[in-house]
């Protein structure tokens, strides 16, 4: 059990996908302006990550069995693109209420590098199937956490009056630097807690 908790918390805090590994920066900067958009995007990414890894991990075993590991990138990205499309259609058809809140974010996720990132990472780290799923959940929750925290910072930034050249994206990146700095405080925490 401890190893699952260790993977989960290190993915959320120590190796936070956005603030430490720089994966999924585009939606992080683009959709974090409002709290509810940030939550919607975060939940959609978590869902897609879980589904993607649940498919790509067994697929990797298949690629290895056939000796065609070099097709990993092509296969994974096509699986993710198809999955996102299917998920959107399924949500629209069967769970329209969920589609209304999450569905609009789904098409934005196909080329979100954090989804492909977690799929490749789970393979590279040599996780077992349950470990890979926990890692995907952790990566998604970490993304959600970063989005929610940053949407709060963004709403305060609206009032700020930085020098002309810093308006817009530059001051947002500086704010992200300060949030990232706070996440540096977590390094080592998980190792101490779970003795990994």
């Amino acid at each position: 059990m401890a190893q699952y908790a260790s993977i989960l918390f290190s993915m959320i805090l120590v190796n936070n996908f956005v603030l430490v590994k720089f994966l999924g920066i585009c939606p992080f900067l683009g959709v974090s302006k409002r709290f509810d958009s940030a939550v919607g995007m975060g939940c959609a990414v978590t869902l897609v990550m879980l589904l993607a890894v649940s498919i790509t991990w067994p697929l990797q075993r298949l690629l290895e069995a056939w000796g065609i590991e070099y097709l990993q990138t092509i296969v994974f990205i096509l699986v993710i693109a198809t999955l996102v499309q299917l998920l959107e259609m399924a949500l629209k058809r069967f769970v329209p209420s969920l589609h209304a809140s999450l569905g609009v974010f789904l098409p934005l996720i196909t080329t979100n590098c954090s989804v492909l990132g977690v799929a490749i990472l789970a393979v590279d780290e040599g996780y077992t199937y349950p470990e890979a799923l926990v890692a995907a959940l952790g990566a998604g929750l970490g993304f959600l956490l970063a989005m929610v925290l940053f949407s709060g910072v963004r709403s305060s930034l609206e009032e700020a009056e930085p020098p002309q050249a810093f308006r817009g994206m530059p001051i947002t990146l500086i704010a992200a630097a300060i949030v990232a700095m706070s996440f540096m405080g977590f390094s080592g925490v998980v190792d101490h807690l779970f003795g990994a």
Binding site: T73, I74, I77, A81
Partner: protein
């Protein structure tokens, strides 16, 4: 997806130079920020990543352009992704075989060139509407512009954070490097300052003529892979406007909720 959408074919020289400065992917269009932030802790990594991306941009641009009349527009995105992924796989194999140290340093970010918004963005916005030669030149310009910004960014971070340039010590002994420059926080801060600097240079004529006042806000641009997702969202000076993007997203939420209400 016909070539008639561009009334005047741009010249080769202007296509090349556009990517270097005016529409520099990382600093002006704010595309491909993930690798810009992630691999720029050493100059060699920055250059390696930039050149790998350039290779993919040039090759995928050419192939997409050659196939632009064959690929039906409804399946163009999956087709583009497959083309791009093939070239990324090629780059990965070449790097692993000939530059194992670079392969080790870039790690997961090498396969992630597939989802770099610059590559798909250029395929969708340029290569699918122009001839193969121009598309290759456009890819080269964008790729070199990306390489320049990655090199600049990694030079600042390596010199300040490690006291070295391409592995050679440049700071005098006794000067302590600023370790945080190599940390994620340093990446965000350096990119923020670089973008501010490029905005400051861009605003220079307006500032000199007194046209700039506190009320003028710069057009905020962003990646979010939107040129692809929204099928070429409205572009302001060649870059995607955040405001337009976010309001589109909100419109979509409202429309979806209205549709839901109608069903009830």
């Amino acid at each position: 997806m016909t070539s008639s959408s561009s009334s005047i074919e741009p010249s080769v020289a202007s296509t090349l130079s556009r990517g270097l400065l005016a529409e520099n992917p990382a600093l002006r269009q704010m595309l491909g920020l993930c690798p810009t932030l992630a691999v720029t802790t050493a100059v060699s990594n920055g250059i390696g990543m930039g050149l790998a991306t350039t290779f993919v941009l040039v090759c995928s641009g050419t192939v997409v352009s050659l196939l632009r009349k064959v690929i039906p527009s409804s399946v163009r995105i999956p087709a583009f992704i497959t083309i791009i992924a093939s070239f990324v796989t090629l780059v990965m194999m070449l790097t692993k075989a000939y530059l194992p140290a670079l392969d080790e340093a870039l790690g997961i970010y090498l396969p992630l060139i597939v989802v770099n918004c610059i590559v798909l963005g250029r395929a969708e916005m340029f290569a699918s509407q122009h001839g193969p030669l121009l598309s290759a030149v456009d890819g080269l310009g964008m790729g070199l512009g990306f390489t320049i910004s990655l090199t600049l960014m990694s030079a600042i971070r390596e010199v300040l954070g490690n006291g070295s340039f391409l592995g050679m010590r440049v700071l005098p002994l006794g000067v302590e490097p600023i370790g945080i420059m190599l940390m994620p926080a340093g990446g965000f801060a350096v990119l923020g300052v670089l973008i501010a600097a490029s905005l400051w240079i861009e605003q220079y004529p307006d500032r000199r003529d007194g046209l700039l006042n506190d009320a003028t806000m710069p057009a905020e641009s962003l990646c979010a892979a939107c040129p692809v997702q929204c099928g070429g969202v409205e572009l302001v000076n060649g870059s995607c406007a955040t405001e337009g993007y976010v309001s589109k997203l909100e419109e979509a939420v409202i429309a979806a909720q209205a549709e839901l209400k109608e069903r009830d």
